[in-house]
Symmetry: C2
Subunit: 217 residues, 2 copies
């Protein structure tokens, strides 16, 4: 079976990213080039390029002659990621919101209803991310979106751990904020939407740093 198409290194990078984001590769895990190459039916060369790509995205950490490991963060770095998100995501919203259609906003509501219905952590993570990106979907200059995406990627593992120990109360606070955000967008009140979004991220950050035990494996 020949490799179908597309640049192999991109394919490897996508696969590896997926494994990390899905939690199948924990922070600190060593990545051996040969193993990955064998599993993905390719040579080590695309794997090496993929590792460089993911290093630049912050998902893996390379050290000369010592191989690659899944990047791990401490609580300080994670907090800073959230502070960056607080400043950038409202900007992303401002770029995208004027072009949101009523149908787009209906779709957000539908996603939010599924968020409220699910009990599964993995499903929550997927849907929460989908909701945010539904808000940003009409941003046209991809650079900002790429930066923010990177922040979501590098903090995904800790967001999962945090979600696991979040109780029902916290979940409903999140849902309330999401509902407020969607309503502000529906009202075309973009300034309020920006503020709600900023507060939503800040509040999550403040809760997160109350659990430094998530960062000491």
């Amino acid at each position: 079976m020949a490799v179908p198409a597309g640049v192999a290194s991109q394919r490897v990078a996508d696969e590896l990213r997926e494994r990390i984001l899905a939690g199948r590769l924990a922070p600190g895990t060593r990545i051996i080039q040969d193993e990955l190459a064998d599993e993905l039916n390719t040579s080590r060369l695309p794997v090496r390029e993929a590792l460089r790509i993911l290093e630049s995205r912050g998902l893996v950490t390379l050290r000369a002659n010592q191989g690659a490991r899944v990047t791990s963060m401490d609580v300080r770095e994670c907090e800073l990621s959230y502070k960056i998100r607080e400043r950038l995501e409202p900007l992303l919203l401002a770029e995208s919101a004027p072009r949101l259609s009523d149908e787009d906003i209906d779709a957000m509501t539908a996603v939010q209803e599924r968020i409220e219905a699910t009990e599964d952590v993995e499903e929550f993570l997927v849907l929460d991310r989908r909701l945010h990106w539904a808000v940003y979907q009409h941003d046209d200059a991809g650079d900002l979106a790429a930066t923010v995406n990177r922040l979501w990627d590098t903090t995904q593992h800790y967001r999962r751990a945090f979600t696991r120990l979040a109780g029902e109360r916290r979940r409903w606070i999140i849902n309330g904020e999401h509902r407020l955000l969607i309503q502000a967008l529906r009202d075309r009140d973009h300034t309020s939407a920006e503020h709600i979004l900023e507060l939503h991220i800040r509040r999550t950050r403040v809760e997160l740093v109350k659990h430094p035990e998530l960062f000491v494996p």
Copy 2:
């Protein structure tokens, strides 16, 4: 002569980045892997890895089977980069400023004096960047700094073009803002420093977008 040390792909990436930032490779220029490999006395493999690295940094653009080109921006993308800087650099300042020593601030003043003394565009670009990074030097979580650095990198070419056509009046406005910023830092008035920095970047952005002709090569 053997290659001294350090990972070759990093060395190639650094060299290529330097050439782009120095303006020796204009946006849109095609980069041929063989040529670069010959010039740097290495094989194409480190060059390929270097191109991946720089692609992730936004400095080069890769298209499958069509090689690499120095990334070019339109006025819209450049404006967005400045908007991002407006939000992130004050944050970077807030992280770093509390740890600035009096000597650090004296050094900034010295750099600013050199900025005011020079007539040379290249020297201005170097010193202006050095001044800003003197402000941010005590940031410890490198992720934010890396993001901002990337923004400086990708807009460097257009900053150069803009500086070339800036008259004496604009230069003195910039100098005034720099002086205000340094004074606020000296007074340990970090909130004002953040605001001055944000306004400094915003004003530059507003001026920049008045010259869309810089983006049509």
